[in-house]
C-alpha cells in the first residue's frame, strides 16, 4: 500500500498509457490501429523537442527538417534498393538526420549563437529545405537514381521489413510503440543520470555550467544531433507507414505543431509530451474527419491560455496538483 502511495501521478499515467497502448489493438479495428500508429509516429517529433528544448533549453523550430530528412532518406534508399534492405534504409535515414543535426549544431553552438538566433536559424533551415525540395520536380533531380519528385514528393515507398517479415498494421503498430516506449524509458532514466543533470544545468545557465567544467558546446551539439536522429527515425517510420513523403513533411508548420504540443504538455515532461501528442493527434484527426478545419485554431487558443495561466504546461501542472492533493490527504490521515 505504501509503495502504491509513493507512485506519483506521472508514473501512474505512464503505466496507464503503456497498458492502453498494449491493449488497444485487442479492442479496436485494424483501421483504428493503423491510425494510432500514425499518432505514435508523431511522438518522435515531440520527443526530439523535449530533449533539445525541454531538457537542454535550446529552442528549435527545425525538428521537422530532420524528420523530413529521415523520411526522404528512407524513401530514396528503399526505393533504389532491394525491398529487403529497408532496415538499412531506416538506419541510413536516422543516421543522416542525426549527422545533419550534428553539423548544424556544431556551427550554432561552437559559433556561440544565442538562444533566440538558434530558433531563427533552425526555422530558416526548415524553410530552405522545404523550398528546395519543392523545386526538385525536374528530371535532373535524382538521388541514387530515384527522382525526388518536387511538390508531389515520393510515393509507393516500401514497407519496413525485418528479414522476410513485412511490418504492416498491428505488427507495425507494436514495432512503433516499442520504439516509442524504449525512447520514453531512456529519457526517464536519463533525467536521473549525470548526462541528464548536465543538460538541465546548461538549460538553466550555460555560463555557470561551463564554470563547473562542462564542455557546453560539445554537449549541446551532441544533444542536438541525438534529437535530430530521433526526429529522423520518426520520419523514417512515417515514410514506411504512409508509403509517401511530400515536402510539407519538413515544413515549419510541422515543427510548430510539435512545439505547441510539447509546450501544452509541459516541455520538461516526457510523459506529458507522449500523452498530449497522442491525444492531440486523435482530436485533430476527429475534427478533420468531421469537416472541422479549426483544429489548429483550437491548438493556438489552448497555447495562449496555457502560457498565460500554466507556464509549466497543462499536464505538468496537472501531475503536480494531483500529487499535492494526495500528499495532503495522506498527511491528514
Amino acid at each position: 500500500m505504501k509503495k502504491i502511495r509513493e507512485l506519483c501521478t506521472e508514473n501512474l499515467v505512464a503505466i496507464a498509457m503503456l497498458l492502453f497502448t498494449v491493449l488497444f489493438p485487442v479492442f479496436n479495428s485494424a483501421y483504428k490501429v493503423d491510425q494510432f500508429t500514425g499518432f505514435y509516429i508523431t511522438c518522435f517529433l515531440s520527443f526530439s523537442i523535449v530533449l533539445i528544448w525541454g531538457y537542454t533549453g535550446i529552442f528549435s523550430f527545425g525538428q521537422a527538417a530532420f524528420y523530413g530528412i529521415g523520411a526522404y532518406t528512407y524513401a530514396i534508399v528503399s526505393l533504389c534498393s532491394d525491398k529487403n534492405l529497408t532496415i538499412v534504409a531506416a538506419l541510413a535515414g536516422t543516421l543522416i538526420a542525426g549527422l545533419a543535426a550534428t553539423l548544424l549544431g556544431y556551427f550554432i553552438f561552437y559559433g556561440g549563437v544565442d538562444e533566440i538566433f538558434t530558433g531563427i536559424i533552425t526555422l530558416c533551415v526548415s524553410i530552405i529545405l522545404e523550398t528546395f525540395i519543392v523545386q526538385t520536380s525536374g528530371p535532373e533531380y535524382k538521388i541514387l537514381g530515384v527522382w525526388i519528385g518536387g511538390y508531389n514528393g515520393l510515393n509507393s515507398i516500401p514497407k519496413l521489413r525485418i528479414g522476410n517479415f513485412t511490418l504492416t498494421n498491428v505488427a507495425l503498430y507494436f514495432f512503433v510503440a516499442a520504439v516509442v516506449f524504449a525512447i520514453y524509458f531512456a529519457f526517464r532514466y536519463m533525467t536521473h543520470s549525470n548526462i541528464g543533470y548536465a543538460l538541465f544545468g546548461i538549460r538553466e545557465s550555460k555560463t555557470r555550467s561551463e564554470l563547473f567544467g562542462f564542455k557546453t558546446a560539445k554537449l549541446q551539439t551532441l544533444t542536438f544531433g541525438v534529437s535530430g536522429a530521433i526526429a529522423g527515425l520518426g520520419g523514417v517510420l512515417f515514410s514506411a507507414w504512409s508509403g509517401y513523403v511530400v515536402p510539407s513533411t519538413l515544413s515549419v508548420g510541422n515543427s510548430t505543431i510539435a512545439v505547441v504540443m510539447v509546450a501544452l504538455a509541459g516541455r520538461k515532461n516526457i510523459t506529458g509530451a507522449l500523452v498530449m501528442t497522442v491525444i492531440y493527434s486523435f482530436i485533430t484527426q476527429k475534427l478533420a474527419a468531421s469537416g472541422n478545419v479549426f483544429s489548429d485554431v483550437i491548438l493556438g487558443i489552448g497555447l495562449v491560455l496555457i502560457v498565460m495561466f500554466m507556464p509549466d504546461g497543462l499536464l505538468e501542472e496537472l501531475f503536480k496538483r494531483v500529487d499535492f492533493f494526495f500528499k495532503k490527504r495522506v498527511a491528514k490521515a
Binding site: E210, L211, G213
Partner: protein, 245 residues
C-alpha cells in the same frame, strides 16, 4: 575537507599586465598581481573599478584583450572556462550563480558530477551541505531560498570540485551581521585548510576580519597593494575608496 599541502613560496595565480576592452571602454588596463599558494587576499575598489572583470578574466568568462594569466605556473590565457575549472579553480559569482529552478541537492550534484565518482555523490552532497550550514533547510527549490542561503549554496557548489583556488565575488553582500560572521568563519576555515582564496568585498569590517593582504583597484588599474592595516590607513586609498569620513 582534507587539508591541502601547500608551498607558500609558490605562485598559484599570476596576472601579468592583463587588460580588457569592451568596445571603446577600457575596463581593465595593465593589471598585474601575484598570489601565493594558501594566500587569502582581497580585491577592493570603488564600483566600476574592474574587480569583477578581473575575476571573469581569471575564470575565462571573458578572454583578456592582452596580457597573460598563469595558474600553477601554466599559461591559461587562451583556455576556455570549462578547462580552467578542471585545472582547479572555482568561483562564487556576484549575483548568485545557482540553478534557481532546481533543488538544493540537484544544484550541488551538478557542480560535483565532473569531479566526484557517482557512487560517492550523495555523501559528498551531504558533506558540502553540512559545511555551509544549510542542512536544516531540507531540499527546497533554490528559488525559494533566501539570498544568504543561495550565497552559501553557491560556495558549497564552488567547493564541489575541490579547487586549489577559490574566487569569491562579494561573499557577504546582502547578509545580516550573524550571516556575515558565519561567512567570515567559513572563509577563514577554508583558507586554514590550505585553499587559496581571492575575494572581492565592499564590507570593510569583513575584509579587516579575514584578509591579510589587499589589492586596491581604481579605474581598471592597480592602485596600491599591501597588508590590510597599511592599505586601509593609506590616505590615497581613503580618498578614492573609503571616503574622507
Amino acid at each position: 575537507m582534507e587539508k591541502k599541502i601547500i608551498n607558500p613560496q609558490k605562485d598559484i595565480l599570476v596576472l601579468d599586465k592583463v587588460s580588457k576592452q569592451f568596445g571603446g571602454i577600457q575596463a581593465v588596463e595593465d593589471f598585474s598581481m601575484t598570489m601565493k599558494e594558501g594566500e587569502l587576499r582581497c580585491l577592493i575598489g570603488p564600483n566600476g573599478a574592474g574587480k569583477t572583470t578581473v575575476f571573469k578574466m581569471v575564470m575565462g568568462v571573458y578572454m583578456a584583450s592582452s596580457g597573460r594569466i598563469l595558474f600553477k605556473g601554466e599559461d591559461i590565457t587562451s583556455l576556455k572556462a570549462s578547462k580552467r575549472a578542471r585545472k582547479g579553480m572555482s568561483i562564487k559569482m556576484q549575483v548568485p550563480g545557482v540553478y534557481e529552478e532546481m533543488t538544493l541537492r540537484e544544484n550541488i550534484r551538478i557542480a560535483a558530477e565532473n569531479y566526484v565518482p557517482k557512487k560517492d555523490l550523495e555523501t559528498e552532497i551531504d558533506r558540502l551541505i553540512e559545511l555551509v550550514h544549510i542542512k536544516d533547510l531540507g531540499n527546497p527549490l533554490v528559488k525559494n531560498m533566501s539570498h544568504g542561503q543561495q550565497q552559501w549554496l553557491e560556495i558549497a557548489m564552488a567547493l564541489a570540485s575541490n579547487p586549489d583556488l577559490l574566487l569569491l565575488d562579494e561573499p557577504a553582500a546582502g547578509l545580516g551581521p550573524e550571516e556575515t560572521d558565519f561567512t567570515a568563519e567559513l572563509v577563514t576555515e577554508l583558507n586554514n585548510q590550505g585553499l587559496s582564496i581571492l575575494f572581492i568585498e565592499h564590507d570593510m569590517n569583513f575584509v579587516k576580519k579575514i584578509a591579510n593582504d589587499v589589492t586596491v583597484m581604481y579605474y581598471g588599474k592597480k592602485f596600491v597593494e599591501g597588508p590590510i592595516d597599511e592599505v586601509v590607513n593609506n590616505p590615497e586609498v581613503i580618498r578614492i575608496y573609503l571616503g574622507n569620513s
